[in-house]
């Protein structure tokens, strides 16, 4: 299952970069700083968005932390700590147990690559 996902992600990532390349050659600006296009990794990250904001940009002033722009190692370590039970919490220990190592690494890579910011 994990192997499948990684393979599929890699295939779709190529598709996404192709799409982005065309978009950049056309528009030239704007798109560079933002996540662009569709990919299984972005869809996986979107499963976090209802609580942590679209692309990890959480609403300011609330309890849930923004994930956008955090260090990759930190995101991965915290998700694993929730999953293994070494970090306490309310919802996150239950949610983190639903994600594989490969998915946690993909999420960490994705959110670390999004410029920090908060929801509008």
């Amino acid at each position: 299952m994990n192997v499948d996902r990684v393979r599929i992600d890699a295939g779709a990532a190529r598709w996404r970069w192709r799409a982005m390349g065309l978009a950049l050659s056309c528009i030239g600006v704007a798109a560079q700083a933002q996540p662009a296009g569709a990919s299984p990794t972005r869809s996986l990250a979107a499963t976090c968005a209802a609580c942590h904001g679209t692309d990890g940009r959480a609403a300011a002033g609330h309890a849930m932390p923004a994930l956008a722009g955090l260090a990759r190692e930190r995101i991965a370590a915290e998700l694993r700590a929730f999953r293994e039970g070494s970090r306490a919490g309310t919802v996150m220990p239950q949610i983190a147990k639903g994600y594989s190592d490969a998915q946690i690494d993909a999420l960490a890579a994705y959110f670390s690559g999004v410029p920090a910011g908060s929801a509008p």
């Binding site: 569709a38 209802a50 609580c51 949610i95 147990k97 509008p120």
Partner: protein, 425 residues
Amino acid sequence: MRRRVAVQGLLSGGALAALGACAAPAGVPASARVVVIGAGYGGATAAKYVRLLSEGTIEVIVIEPQPAFVSCPMSNLVVAGMRSLDDITRSYDGLRRRHGVTVVQDAATSIDLQGKQVTLARGARIRYDKLVLAPGVELMFDAVPGLAQAQAEGQVLQAWKAGPETEALARQLRAMRDGGVFAIAIPEAPYRCPPGPYERASVVAAYLKQHKPRSKVLILDANPDVVSKPGLFRKAWSDLYPGLVEYRPLHKAVAVDARAMSVKLELGDEVKADVLNVLPPMRAGALAVRAGLANANQRWCRVDYASFASVLAKDVHIVGDSILAAPSMPKSAHMANAHAKVAAAAIVAELAGGPVDAHPMLTNTCYSFVSDSEAIHVASVHEYVAAEQTFKSVPGSGGVSSARSTTEAAYALGWAANIWADTLG
């Protein structure tokens, strides 16, 4: 007629021209258009994510009769006087301005599934390449004789779609005498928002405890036990509202008498109340039923869970409460938001000729307030299992609160702010 012209002008102009030479960077045909019916949690999220994931190359038109988004989650706080309707109302301007979605305030009256077009109440017809149907639920008033009339007279309300009726129920509660009975009748599952009726009972009890302590909340449940978070709700009732909340399982409402303000139960007895909040059985939104898409027991729409495509109609995706849910998948706002993202990704991929994600995931978290300051949750993670063509809970994941807390109340408010922004912002 003038309105019709204006709508059609709106639909054929603007959005496409703005794309200019970059209309199809990801292989999306320049004329690709997605029409979304219903701008609740499912429809609004689908609209936003089709725009995001297609980098604005797919035109998205949303049809929604209401002028603004009013959240069902948190609406029980309005019933109990802890929040105002304004607090849970959000504009569609974010979809319009930040995401280039065309939001048309009108009702869709019919769908031509073969000709791939939607007809609106004011007469406009809109063609689609892909349709997202997010009509929510229809309350089946006819299943409870007397209820339709009692509702039309404003005597027995539901307030199960947030809006003016939420405020009307709040007024009934405020007007109730001390020593009165607030009765809520719950239909057999599945219905919209499994914990919602129990949350409502809890926050109404909190209001009564403070303002009318001789009163009572009576829960008449058609189900054999509390459908969601049973241990946590029961503990809240016995700890916080001893003698104030009475729970009766297997008490199915079968008729309502508006003049007597009574509800008749399947077991034969009749219960009188000062405020009667009878929730009838529910099914997929009326438009889905009329279009023949509610093919599960004539109530819910079967979908291919990998993409939320209707199993009956090509290029129609159905999300939110109106679908036949996969095992352990609640009819919740969070789940509708999650369905919509999977559907949006599939739609963008299909229109671009790219691969559809073979392993979509869904998360769900439902917070419920049990008082004005404490909340509880249920959470789950669901993965698509291709071999079984359904979503299943990931083994070992998910669960409920260890105890009610003020911390979870803060998270509940944070959840609302974030999901509103993710859905609309």
